[in-house]
Amino acid sequence: MKRLHNPGADAIKTKGWLRANKWLLARRFTQLSILLLFLLGPWFGIWLIKGNLNSSLILNVLPLTDPFVLLQSLISGHIPEATAITGAIIVLVFYMLVGGRVYCSWVCPVNMITDAAHWLRERLGISGASRLSRNTRYWLLGAVLVLALSTGSIAWETVNPVSMVHRGLIFGMGLAWVVIVAVFMFDFLVSRRGWCSHLCPVGAFYSALGTHSLVRVRADARDQCDDCMDCFIVCPEQQVIRPALKGADKGIGPVITSANCTNCGRCIDVCAKDVFHFGNRFNNQSYNNPVHEHTHERNKEHTNHSTGAEVL
């Protein structure tokens, strides 16, 4: 049924190809740039950043540490040095502000693998929703933490596809390509959006981080929605859109507040009616007013936001 129409086709017609893919392009650019920054060292000897996503050092000064891996280390019984703690706090604050799952859609190298698998799945018309519960990832998150406690080691890191892929690209693959193939095949043939949206405990951790994040996607122009369903089709976390988009009658505000939203901005791209835009989480009242007030509000937010995008 999803083959009936091509999501985003209307948006391309009304907004042009570039605007209808703006956030997707920005996201791919960011993902590849971060990867390239890490690869500049081993490939060209330019050491702007050393290490990998688990812990790194920028320009030999600024430490960054994945708070999830450090939390597991803490639970396993190790008290880390100040460097790692500082690095983790920096990362923690950043994602608490911009949205935890910005890590998933803008940084994580596995996102490109699962997006490719999803694209192929849609292209070949493999239908059917995932039978997994979206809450499975939180169970897995709990299991990962319990494992750290019971084994006294960071057991999750022996199988974690996220760090394995990233480390593989920078330090040498070994058999890590098997993991890439496995994740790809899982999302391609077994479960729609299976890994990133249902299972990954890393994503679940970052979801929890971003529960109160400032940067959110807003559907301020939701009365413009013509029910084309394009945003639902492209969204990796479809359940997050409905309350904000269709909740006006129930008094739900236009901000997508779910922590599972990855702030990928694909819904903004594919909407021909410009219903969505990046904004903050405040002013989340439900309006029942005429259209022009929304548009006014929206334009204001939009300028705010585009300066934000350049920073990103």
Partner: protein, 295 residues
């Protein structure tokens, strides 16, 4: 399900959805338990590192190390000699952790220990400030049958390359039983100075090194905790703890005496008789000699 009667009074769809919820929860919980068992067992399995894989200087004990190391590879990056490697998936070392193989590239023992400084978590212990205090492993001359020095040849390579020459490895002289007239120079490792850098194993001229760095717990024995060395206890106490010391008396020929402070047997040059041999031409006199003094 054996639910009590008040539950049964509920309407059918409600209990059906409740049942469904329970089944779904049980299914998820079951899968998570399976997942945890799998990952837990695999991580336990992969923690059995082969003896040749050595951790960088200052690494915590292996079981603590696997909880402390975040697999970032910063130590590998700051190693100026490409000694360290980050274990890839499929390597026999826990994925993402740093190690080196002494026979391939040994540790050069940098004075400033950059790998330890680079570690953000302290999996490489920052309290290690002098590289000579590092204990990455312990050299063991494992194959005496093929070691050239054991055969009486003067290879000495392991001894010569040792950064703590004459402390971590010494050459101990023994007589060569094969030729009957030469010495053998036995390379002997001393654990109070050996850092386990691996230069000796790297340099060993054999096809397969006769001297190897082993993890300390593999290389060293441990004395029974109740056991005491008698002579050390005697030194501590100032005298023998069990039986009173009686100095052994040698029954020596005339003109000879024994020095108990280490000089051993002494021939007195200028004794009265000054004959070529201390023995009298009458063997009976020699036998009687001690007895005359006692009487």
């Amino acid at each position: 399900m054996n639910t009590p009667s008040p539950e049964k009074k509920r309407s059918a769809p409600n209990s059906a959805s409740r049942r469904r919820f329970l089944v779904d929860t049980a299914r998820t919980a079951g899968s998570i338990v399976l997942f945890s068992l799998g990952v837990g067992l695999y991580s336990r399995q992969s923690a059995s590192t082969p003896a040749q894989a050595l951790r960088p200087p200052g690494a915590l004990d292996e079981d603590k190390f696997l909880g402390a190391c975040v697999r970032c590879g910063l130590c590998v990056r700051d190693c100026p000699f490409d000694t360290l490697d980050l274990a890839k998936l499929g390597d026999p070392v826990t994925t993402g952790t740093p190690y080196f193989i002494a026979r391939d590239v040994p540790c050069e023992m940098c004075d400033d220990i950059p790998c330890v400084k680079a570690c953000p978590t302290g999996a490489l212990d920052h309290s290690l400030e002098n590289i000579d205090d590092a204990r990455m492993g312990l050299a063991v001359l494992i194959d005496e049958e093929n070691c050239l020095n054991f055969q009486g040849l003067r290879c000495d390579v392991c001894y010569r390359v040792c950064p703590a020459i004459d402390k971590a490895i010494t050459l101990e002289l023994e007589s060569n039983m094969r030729s009957g007239k030469h010495a053998v120079f036995i390379p002997t490792v001393h654990s109070d100075h050996c850092t386990g850098c691996g230069k000796c194993e790297r340099a060993c001229v054999l096809e397969e090194a006769a001297i190897k760095i082993l993890p300390i717990q593999l290389a060293k024995g441990e004395l029974g905790h109740h056991y005491r060395w008698g002579w050390k206890e005697k030194d501590k106490a100032g005298s023998s703890l069990v039986t009173p010391d009686v100095q052994h008396r040698y029954n020596l020929p005339q003109g000879q005496r024994y020095d108990y402070d280490g000089k051993g047997l002494i021939f007195d040059e200028n004794n009265g008789s000054s004959s070529e041999t201390p023995f009298d031409s009458n063997p009976l006199n020699t036998l009687k000699r001690g007895m005359e003094q006692d009487q």
